[in-house]
Each structure stands twice: as structure tokens, then as C-alpha cells.
Amino acid sequence: MLTADLIRSRTVGDNISPRYITRRYSANYLDDCLKLIGTFEKHIGKTQEELMSALENLEGKRTDFKIFRGLAKLLSEDGEFSPARQINYPALRHSIFSRAQNHYPIVSKSDLLHQNQRDQILSEAAQEFEVPVKVIDGLLYGDLPENQILTSFKTTHTPETLLKRYNLAQAQGLLYRAIRLRILLKEDYRIVFQYIKLSGLMHWITPLPSNGMEIILDGPSSLFRNTQRYGIRMANFLPGLLLAKTWEMRADIQTPQGPKFFYLDPKCGLTSHYSPGKRFDSQIEEKFFIKFTRKEREWTIEREGEVIDLGDSVFIPDFTFRHPDGRSASLEIVGFWTPEYLNKKIGKIKRSKRKNLVLAVNKQLNCSRDDFQGEIMFYRTGLKIGECLEKLEKVAC
């Protein structure tokens, strides 16, 4: 991600939006990207200061230096720096400075009273640390970042992917100043809520009359004051949202000119670098879904199509079934066997207080009917469609 000083935005009325590198201009910057990648590669083995001044030269007096530095910043994340020689730098300095105490003042122009003792002190230290006298002067601060050497630079970026990452980073950067996110979501609930959970944001869900839901995201202290404290969490969450297919987002951004809105939807063309995860958790689920959809049925099946709000977290059953007459029911498959997982799952199911929920429990888990509430079926190798439909009919409402 980028530092706040490299974020560029545009405000029109109540709306604020990132200044992306648009397709119209991307041709100009593709060339810059190539030059930048080339400059980094050319400076493997050189100091950071040399790299920086090469980048500064490349930048020149152009007014779009923020874009240029942004691209460079993203590339620098792929570089590694370390000191030229592995010596104890603080000890070297101490050796030089403590020798110097007896010879102060160290002057640059010798006169009758003051002889320049600098070279003698340095050569004594060079001897002690077993380094050539020639390099000792340069080594005095060899461990400072600007004097460190670019030892490796391995980027997976092409000019095209770098521009994409830059645009994403601009959108993320605008969110640093966000106090709240509003999201309309119609599908892909699980992946989105997975990244909400990971980001540490709190949610507030309202089902929409048609289909889908509105999710408001902020943090614990947002209840009392507008705060940008959670903006970085929102920025971290954004690539997670981009993994969904249909969504709309509105971020409330605080600016010195008052509150502004940042709207985003899939048309923005931003791409995520987060893992979309697998479509199915297990083969059991996948097989069941394929078997169920192979035939035309009264009940329609939807994968992870419902979000049950538990306040501090959500429960998303594996499958939701809907009947044309308006009834619905859900199915949750309990197949993993670590005790923590099982306890958490049982807790969630209990707290959801759902009547129209069917549980399919792996027989090898050694669970009994009493461990759960509600309708249960056990399975060994695969779920039986007939038994499942029977249970659905029984609990649906």
C-alpha cells in the first residue's frame, strides 16, 4: 500500500474519488513503469542513496511526481537492502569517536595550533576492524538505510500489473480517511464476511426487501465519534470486497472540507490480489450440490445464500433451499473434527436460534444427537438427497 502523502483524490461536490491512472493515460505510464523496473534492476548492488538519486533524476521537474513516486514505492516493496559489510557498526563508530576525544578539535583546515588528526584516527580504526583504510570513511554510517545496498530485487510486476496495483492502492489510500463503509451485497457473502472478519471491522446488517443486504462497517468506538481509526482496516478489507461479483460501496470520507462520499462498484475495474478461496469447502459439499442440481426439483438450492447475524459474527449455512410457496430452510454440513471448530460451530448454531435448519453430521465425529439442537441427519460417505428433502419438508417455514 502507499503512504498517505502519495494518495491523490478529486472532489466534485459531495463526491470524492481516487485519481486513477486511467486507460487514456496508461500508455504514458507503461513506459515509466518499464524505466522504473529497469532502474531498480540496474541498482542491484548499489546503495539506496544511489537508487534514490537515480529515481530523482528520472523524476526530473515533472509535476506528476506523486504518481511516479507511488509507482516506485510499490516496486520498492519487492526489494531487499542490507549493509555492504557485516561488521558491528555501532562498535566501529564508538572506536572512532572515543579515539577522537583525545584529539578534539578535529579540524578540516590545519593550522599551527590544530593539526588534522582525522586520517590517523580513521586508519587506526581500520586496522582494528580489519577493513581497508580506503573504505573506512564510507563505512562510518554504512548501516544507515541510505547507505545500505540493494541486494535483491525480485518483482512479479509487469508494467500492466503495476498500474493495476497502483490504482488499487489509490482506492485503498482514500479509505485511510474513511469513517464508515456502506456496502450493498447480493451474493458471495462468505468470502466477503471472511475478509470482514479478518480485517477486524464490526458489521451492521440490514436485509434488503428485494434480495441481498446492506452492510455497514466501522469499529467499536465509531458508536461515539466519527473516527478514521479504522480506515486502515477498511483499506485492508477492500481487496476482499473486490472478489465479490455484484456489490456497491459507499465510503464516508472525512476531509478538511467536510464529509464526502466515495462510491465504488464492480465497474471500477479494480482487481484484487487476495485469494478468492475455494468454491466448496469439501468434496462432500461439492458432490451434494452437483447431485442436487442434476434434476429439476421443486426446491431450489443456493450455496451460502443466507447470512444469519449473530452480532459479533455471522453464521452462513452451507446451503439454503427455497420453495415456490415461500417456505425456506437451510442445511449445514458438520464435517471437520477439531474440538475448537466443533464447539464454535455448535455455539453458532445454538445462538442462531433457527428452527428451519438441518444439520448433516459426519458419523466419524463421535457426536450424539444430544450435542446439537434441531433436525439432524448423519452421513458417512455422502449425503442422501432423499433423506435431506424429507428433513427439509419437516422444518421448512
Binding site: 521537474k61 579540524v107 578540516s108 595550533l113 584516527i121 544507515l144 467499536p220 478514521q228 452480532g311
Partner: protein
């Protein structure tokens, strides 16, 4: 039936098992978590309200502990220090003490910690100041002190931190401390930093500063975050009592012909732009200038010219010569050299083999350098802005300022570095400024600060 129970959640208080029809005092309903929630700031008030209304409750929120703190390294308190401590405790152990730099504010805080006997968090504006609190507290109580900031993340019953790190992490640790101490508290009213006291349960709070009032009047916020001003003494009231006397010498130097030529070329192009656009060095027009420099080439050139002008000023060759003559004159003294820019620090360090301290200096090495300076093993230090605020170099008697910006607060605090009482010692401050340039102006504005009157 479970009783109402308080718990801490990321900088807020949650009240579980509340069954009364009325709202619990100072709480608000949170539909997201479906719980009653309050600001951690109100913790003490909530407990008081519970007591007044005889509401029995469990408290799972507070995680701070009683500490038996004995001051091992005991200095006698000066009158102003014990008065400050007394007034602060008299006002419910909440509020701010205003004392000039170098008057021993930290000793007031250390005694307050011993009196409160609870887990404490000390927050300072810079890593250097934080490190200094670390040394001081460790020495005073002979205990291990925790650090949050500057690459460290170690929470102990007494922990030191920076404003930046405390802001970032307070929602995780706001229940671990019963006592908050803010050094240089005039920084606290920023919208971000003010969340540190808001997201913390600590009933006891102490602010310390030499310059309380802010031109934007934001210090008024401190009343409800920390408490009122409980004690104030100015530099004039204390001078002679325990601060050493000092004298100030201003050395005017000229640019070399070459520098002058470069400078005036840059200055011409810069000032032409400035005049055309009517830019003033305050208010919105300056911001507009900065903004314009990101899209108009003329503004960008003017901005770059200004940057180069400053580089010439701060690095002026004759300034370095003037410094060299001071080094000769005072090579037996304890001297600190201040500069504006880091690269100049390292240039001087290499040229004259003087230890350098900047924000890039590692914590361990920094402590070693300062310790050696205190012991007299090192007699000189060259530094950039790191030592600006309140960082204390007890035995320095000569300070040299090479370049600097116009802030009076900054200057006053720089002065504080050398104002340490040591018998028979007269501190000297040199300011090396370049004539016929913008800097004369800066120095003039500096003089308006209280210390010179």
C-alpha cells in the same frame, strides 16, 4: 440471575446482563453487537454512578494492578515540584502541570506514579523522549519498564510509548493502565491523539508541558480528557532558583560568492512566482501553492527552488567554518550542535568525528551515546531535530544552532537542552545565521518567545 457486568472491548466499555428498563448511565445501545456500550473515558464516572444508585455489578473491564513502587533514586523535590504534585492530587489526581523545560517535570510524574501505585502508561511525542522516560523510570524504581513504539511492543505494568504508537494500539491496552501520563501534552488535542485518553479506562491522568496554550484554542479539549490546569509556573518565576544562567550569542555570516550567486538566482525565480501569486506564509494560499505544485510546472519549479534555497542556507559553507572555529574555542566543553537536516548532521559527524544522533539512530546505540555523553566519555554531540523537545542532556554547557525553523515553541525547547543547573556553570547558546536571507527573519521571530524577555 447474572449481575450487570462491565467488560472492555477495543477501547470501549460493554455492559452485559443489564435488565432494568432504564438506560444504564453514560451507556448507549449498540445495535451491531446488541449490547450497551460506553466510551472507556467514562469508566470512573460510571463506577461513581453505579455507587450512587447502589447498582451491584461485576467489573471484568479493568486489568490494571496495584503496584508497590518505591523510589530508589531519591532527589529532593524543589518547592515548585512538590506544590505541583500536591495541587494535582488535590484535584482528584487529574489535570495538567505547566512548568518550563528543564524544571524537572519528570520528577513530578515519578512521584505521582509512586503515590498512585497502579499500572501506568507514559506517552511522549518522540521516540527519544520515550527512551528518556524509559531510562528515568527504570532508574527511579529499579524495575523493568515496558516499551510500545520505536520497534518495541512490550507491555509491562509501567510502559512508555509515543503518541503515534499509543494512538495505534490503545484499543488493545486501554484497560491495562490506571494512570496515564502525557508528556508535552500540547500535542494531545489532535483528533487522532485525543483518542488515547478516550479509549482508555485510566481514572488518573496527568499532563505535562511548558507550552499549554495552542493558537487554535484546542487545549480547551484537555479539560474533559485529562482535567483542568492544576499548577503553572513560568520560566521567569524559576530563573536563578534552579536553572543555570545562560547567555546568547548570535553569529552573522554571509554566503560565499558562489552560494550567493546560486541563492539569488533561485531567490529571484521563487520570489517572482510568489509575488505574482500573492503567496503568504500562512493560511490557505500556502496550501494552494503546495497543491498547485503538483500540477502546474511554474509552481513546481518555484517549490523546487525554495527547497534548494533552504539547502544552501542550512549547509552554507561559511556556517561550517563558523562551527569549526567554535569547535576550536570550546573543545574542552560539553557541546551540542543542532541542525535542521539529517544529511548535515552526518556531514558534520564525519568531518569532525563527532557522534551523531538523529531519528535514524537505533534505541540501544542512542542510549549508549547519551550515557557516554552524560559520563563525559563523549564531549560533543551533533543532532537534528530529535532532541528538540524536552530531551535532557544534563551536562551540556554549550549549544550551537545551525539553521532552524521559525517556531518559537521549538526554539524555547531547544534552549531548554542546556539550561541545567550545575554549580558555577554558565551555559552559552550560539546561533549561526546567514545574513541577507530569509533566515534573519526566522531568528527575529524566535526572539519573541518568552525566554528572551
Amino acid at each position: 440471575m447474572p449481575v450487570p457486568t462491565l467488560r472492555f472491548h477495543e477501547g470501549t466499555l460493554i455492559l452485559d446482563h443489564w435488565v432494568e428498563k432504564t438506560n444504564p448511565p453514560l451507556f448507549r445501545w449498540d445495535p451491531r453487537s446488541r449490547t450497551w456500550r460506553a466510551m472507556a473515558l467514562h469508566y470512573a464516572k460510571i463506577l461513581k454512578a453505579f455507587e450512587e444508585h447502589q447498582i451491584s455489578h461485576e467489573d471484568e473491564a479493568l486489568a490494571f494492578t496495584h503496584l508497590e513502587l518505591n523510589i530508589k533514586l531519591n532527589y529532593d523535590l524543589y518547592d515548585h515540584q512538590s506544590e505541583a504534585l500536591f495541587e494535582w492530587m488535590n484535584q482528584g489526581s487529574r489535570g495538567t502541570v505547566i512548568l518550563p523545560t528543564g524544571s524537572g517535570k519528570s520528577l513530578v510524574a515519578i512521584h505521582a506514579m509512586a503515590e498512585m501505585g497502579t499500572s501506568s502508561l507514559v506517552v511522549a511525542p518522540t521516540i527519544d523522549l520515550m527512551n528518556q522516560w524509559y531510562d528515568r523510570i527504570g532508574d527511579a524504581f529499579k524495575i523493568d519498564v515496558g516499551i510500545l513504539g520505536g520497534g518495541y511492543h512490550e507491555i509491562r505494568p509501567i510502559t512508555v510509548s509515543t503518541y503515534d504508537s499509543a494512538y495505534r494500539h490503545i484499543d488493545r491496552y486501554g484497560h491495562r493502565f490506571g494512570f496515564l501520563i502525557f508528556d508535552e501534552i500540547h500535542h494531545l488535542p489532535a483528533p487522532t491523539y485525543s483518542q488515547i485518553p478516550e479509549l482508555s479506562l485510566a481514572p488518573f491522568r496527568l499532563g505535562l508541558t511548558a507550552t499549554y496554550r495552542r493558537s487554535d484554542a484546542q487545549h480547551l479539549k484537555l479539560n474533559h480528557l485529562i482535567g483542568p490546569v492544576v499548577y503553572e509556573k513560568r520560566i521567569k518565576d524559576l530563573k536563578g532558583e534552579h536553572l543555570s544562567e545562560y547567555e546568547i550569542h548570535r553569529i552573522h555570516i554571509a554566503l560565499t560568492p558562489q552560494e550567493k550567486k546560486e541563492y539569488s538566482a533561485l531567490s529571484d525565480s521563487y520570489h517572482q512566482y510568489v509575488r505574482e501569486k500573492g503567496i503568504r506564509f500562512y493560511g490557505r494560499r500556502w496550501e494552494t501553492f503546495i497543491k498547485e505544485s503538483t500540477y502546474t510546472p511554474q509552481a513546481r519549479r518555484a517549490m523546487l527552488a525554495r527547497k534548494e534555497m533552504r539547502q544552501i542556507l542550512f549547509g552554507a559553507e561559511l556556517k561550517l567554518e563558523a562551527l569549526e572555529s567554535l569547535l576550536k574555542q570550546h573543545h574542552k566543553d560539553r557541546m551540542i550542535v543542532f541542525t535542521e537536516a539529517n544529511d548535515l548532521v552526518y556531514r558534520i559527524s564525519r568531518r569532525h568525528l563527532i557522534p551523531a544522533l538523529t531519528h535514524k539512530t537505533d534505541t540501544v546505540e542512542r542510549k549508549a551515546i547519551l550515557d557516554r555523553f552524560r559520563r563525559g566519555e563523549y564531549r560533543m554531540i551533533v543532532t537534528s531535530k530529535v532532541l528538540n523537545e524536552g530531551v535532557d542532556i544534563p551536562d551540556a554547557n554549550v549549544a550551537v544552532i545551525l539553521g532552524g525553523s521559525a517556531s518559537p515553541i521549538e526554539h524555547l525547547q531547544r534552549l531548554g537542552r542546556i539550561l541545567r543547573k550545575k554549580s558555577g556553570k554558565k551555559a552559552i547558546l550560539y546561533e549561526i545565521i546567514t545574513s541577507g536571507t530569509q533566515e534573519t527573519n526566522i531568528s527575529y521571530r524566535r526572539r519573541e518567545s518568552d525566554a528572551y524577555r
